[in-house]
Amino acid sequence: MKDNVLMRVAARWNMPFLLVFALYTQTHGELGPGGGFQSGVMIAAAFIVYGMVFGADEMRRVVPRWVTDFAAAAGVLIYAGAGVYCMAMGYTFLDYAALVPSNPGGAEPWGMVIVEYGVGITVAAVMLTVFNEITEGTLPGQEPGGTKEVL
């Protein structure tokens, strides 16, 4: 599909907008519609569109497997880490008051922001892992990663 000028240009030009909008959704999470899930899916979608146009191997060159493996675990660790930090400060698990002890009510958004970043990272990484698993050739005689196009 990368021989098609229209697809190539559209994929390239869409990517920054998708990523920026993903970040906007991410930072908006605790105030209105949005949050980690939606933003993570959008980040992954940006890369998946890239992978579909330029080939999955090209996408894996940009985002190698070890990055997605690491990020998938790291996101949940950020979430759980926020909870463990609260426990270490003498509060209960995920009691965000621990983040700003002087102003427990103001601490809630901070807790949500941290946790949502964790969610976003994991969702994006897992979506990319799913894409990688589908596109890495597993049919007999087909070498891994041999697929150039998925559509």
Binding site: D69, A73, A74, V76, L77, A80, V84, T92, F93
Partner: protein, 509 residues
Amino acid sequence: MERIHQNLPALIVVLPLCMGLITSIIGRRGLGWWLAMGTASAVLAMAVQLLVNVLESGTLTVTYQMGSWPAPFGIVYVVDPLNAGVLTIVALIGAIVTLYARKSIASEMDPRRLHFFYALWLFCMTGLLGITITGDAFNLYVLLEISSLSTYTLVALGRQRNRRALTAAINYLVLGSIGATFYLLGIAYLYMVTGSLNIADIQHILATKVFPTWGTDAPMYRTTVYVGFALMAVGLSLKLALFPLHGWLPNAYTYAPSSVSALLASTATKVGAYAFIRVIFTLVGTGFAYRMLHTDVVLMVSAGAAILVGSWMAFRQTSLKKLLAYSSIGQIGYITLGFALGNVNGLTASIIHLFNHALTKGGMFMALGVVAYRLGNTRLQDVQGLGRKLPFTMAAFTAGGLGLIGVPLTAGFVSKWYLVTACIEAGRYEMAAIVLVGSLIALLYVWKVVEAIYFGKRPENVPGVKEAPLTMLVPTLLLAGASIYFGIDASTSARVATAAAHFLLGVTP
């Protein structure tokens, strides 16, 4: 130290979760096992500490509020004598099987991906511990999915030894997902009626606002509660492999890697049984489930059929792992029969059998894992005359077998004693007869194997085998020894089980 102490109920779930994630990142080159082993030991210590805390506290409960949100609004973890006991079972078996898994799994899968195995292993423990400790019905579903999803993958990892592990895992995935969905639907129906997801709160609302109207002209939500409970009961029966919903179990246990079979057989179905007990005795109450809906009759018929059919199918198997899998279905029948009777002795039998069967079956699956490690197979003709080649392993297997029959001085005898007493107390003489017939069939299938092990003749042209490596032998003997020890001195296990039964039925000893 103080902070660890007050956060124990959360830590016991959060620690294996975090360590599982860390293991998937840095667990390469053998480090994965060390991380898993360290975590499993820490979890065991925490579970024992929680059990002690609960039994020593005046109210017999320890409550922990996640994020300091109070009960009906936030998720609470509630530890009482029942789930403290089940937590200890899961943590104990988890720690011992992790010790065993190192050599066993290394021979069964690609060593470069072992860190993912240990990560899944810890996730599975996270889910099982979480189901047990949570006081929130929806949280229970989430943790059920965590444990199930990792279990499906763990079963599929047996594919290097036998490709049929993949179909077994898919089969388990489909049926397990149906079970979990049924449970979720049931929760949704109860949420419709009560507007709450907290187990204690649902119980309170049902008992004070919903049930009292049923005797009047305008019964509130009667059909909705019926359907909700029925859906939950079917879903959980699938999860605990109660006959006739046991279809996924034999192949999943047979084709999974040896250490996974040992872990699942001794913890996964036990936790399912725990969740079922929780739903019947705490969530809706026996007044509704047993006296109004007569679920106990349905459960008793299923349990009786499970005991007879499971044991008989076990007798007909020639693959020893499959034999143990079918025997597990029969043993689940005993556990179900205990809580279906609904009296103190029956519940005690159920809870003590959760523990005793975990020890017995765990030890037996581990002994078979040794056979698979040395011979690559566990068919009946392969173990002919192995008693002289693997004396310790086979002794452990035989001890477990005696426990399955229920020979005095084994743990199985203690459970069956309570169970038969409970049957007679409840006037269910036919169930007592079924328990005894089930034990007779168990005698048949255990004898079939023991005869082959000790009196069979080793084929001439097979290579010699050595006794198991020490890291596999010690955990196997540990569980087999424990199954004998708790048959001779059952005071500790009986004390916890009786406390749990008294607590559930609300009677003071």
